[in-house]
Amino acid sequence: MQDHGDACRLTGLGRTYGRGTSAHHALGGIDLAIRANEFFTLLGPSGCGKTTLLRLIAGFDQPTVGEIAIFGRNVAGMPPEDRPVNTVFQHYALFPHLTVAENVGFALRMLGRPRAEIAATVARMVELVGLEGMEQRRPDQLSGGQKQRVALARALAPGPKILLLDEPLSALDAKLRQRMRSELKALQRETGITFVFVTHDQDEALAMSDRIAVMQGGRVQQLGRPEEIYEAPANRFVADFIGGANLIPARMGPEGAMAEGLGTIPATGTSGAEVTLAIRPERLAILPAGGHQPGDLGPLVVAERIYMGNELSFRLEGAAVPLHVTLPRGGLRGALDFAPGDRVALRPETGAIRVLAS
């Protein structure tokens, strides 16, 4: 942690494709400060602008407006070869006619480093990603996971100030993806390099990131630590995209938010304002109707019981929208089970209900 400055500062960044009426604003009004040594994730659905943003930082594309500073130096307008940034590509983009060692040493060779230094760094990188003995293979002789490691080693070899990762795990099978998550996170801590990671997978983002920028429609919807993003979503989109939430329309009354079929939920706000209540499906306890306590929601009717192995999920009718409740299969919230038609009430955990402006 030798540097607490910003690794990458984006100011008023925007990218528009085309002109006039057919113009497409891929990215707009981006103000972000990515800190040094941080694992930073750009998370969003496809088309949200996250890859465009990565391309702008890498220099594969140039912004229409705004500034990009890498460790204080403005790099907007510079080609990729002049930026102290390297990329791990989604489909790896390994050079098929070069060996693993030649791929890993490519950047150092381009930088004109001495042969001995290149050999030493390549050996160190190959060891770092656990590919000893594969140095003389070509990419078509490697498995998907091995290619992934070569791509990592190749991008890390020149010692970039920022490592950009464009959905690097999406081409791997589920098991390998799990393992690579831990390895990537460990690698980031070990090297101390700032990682900017692009993904559409919320689990990946939550598991690995120091901070996450949730993107949608070319803008940052929320910036924060994984806990903040998950526990305190800033708006409907974030609440829905990360983890899924029950989004319930409600109206502010004198004692709180009034939701159809649920009762009044304590909250403060302008009386009469339309709001949205966001509740995570796993932060609700489900009880038989009858033993109704103050603060309980309902009564509601079980419409469907969904068995998913590690979880048990219910769909409940009776509110303005169908509600989903998920119970862990251990039954931490009571080993109660229900069948369709049962009348139930819901008891939210403290702080489980977020009131979002519309």
Partner: protein
């Protein structure tokens, strides 16, 4: 139970008459050439009656300085024209495939139009034009004309290879600090090599084969082998013509086989 889509039902060999048709087609294609090759080994002077086998006409060919000179002209011309055409076709393909080209369809049509113009028209036009601008006849004019009509032949395999190549590799090279020239030399060119070679060989064969344009533009001393062969015919056909022709078939076949081997090895 039969599979839903029984592939045997679609086997071309199950269609009636396929065997006979195929055999006839092959016979019509190759019988004349085999016939020509057979008579190149004729011991006698006749081109229709075999008088024992010998290599006398091959000896005559190799002893004939005019044929040797024409063959040398042809090969030299083909090498130069194919090389120039390959360079130009590569530039065109890089622009067409890798860059944003306005009116791409039009540019493509302009590039490949020479394939569709009747060759005799190109030949006469070249003759008139080169005379008009004072280039005259001779090896220089031949090089220009051959390069021109070879470009589309070189272009097609090169563009095909470039299209199937991942443009992301060049982006990755830029990301890894390679400047444009080194990107081209270290990434694009080596990966393009099989396409370049096929394009070059195709252009080489097309140039080597050409008769009409060469016959119009060749000056004294720059006669190519096909043109010389034609002039030999006018003096009467001897098995010597067969021998030269057989050697040309052999050369073409070698180039085609070579080209096939290269493209197979690289894919």
């Amino acid at each position: 139970m039969m599979a839903l889509l029984d592939t045997r039902a679609r086997d071309i060999r199950n269609l009636p008459g396929v065997g006979v048709t195929a055999a006839l087609a092959v016979a019509f294609l190759y019988a004349p050439i085999l016939f020509l090759m057979l008579y190149s080994f004729n011991g006698g002077r006749s081109i229709s009656r075999l008088d024992g086998l010998s290599l006398r006409w091959y000896r005559a060919v190799f002893a004939n300085e005019e044929i040797g000179g024409a063959a040398l002209n042809s090969v030299l011309l083909a090498v130069i024209a194919a090389s120039l055409a390959t360079v130009m076709a590569t530039a065109a393909a890089l622009a067409m495939v890798r860059m944003r080209v306005r009116r791409k369809a039009a540019a493509y049509a302009v590039l490949n139009f020479p394939l569709m113009v009747p060759e005799i028209v190109t030949a006469i036009a070249s003759l008139i034009f080169f005379s008009a601008v004072g280039l005259g006849l001779g090896f220089g004019s031949l090089v220009i004309a051959h390069t021109t009509f070879c470009i589309p032949f070189a272009y097609l395999p090169i563009a095909a290879r470039l299209t199937s190549m991942d443009a992301g590799l060049e982006v990755a090279a830029a990301d890894l600090y390679a400047r444009p020239l080194r990107r081209f030399a270290l990434i694009t060119l080596p990966l393009l090599a099989p396409g370049l070679l096929s394009g070059w060989l195709l252009a080489f064969i097309v140039s080597l084969d050409d008769f009409i344009i060469s016959s119009m533009l060749a000056g004294p001393g720059s006669t190519t082998l096909p043109v010389h062969l034609y002039s030999m015919l006018r003096l009467g056909i001897t098995p010597e013509v067969n021998a030269v022709s057989s050697l040309m078939v052999l050369a073409s076949a070698l180039v085609v086989i070579l080209s096939g081997l290269i493209s197979r090895r690289k894919t």
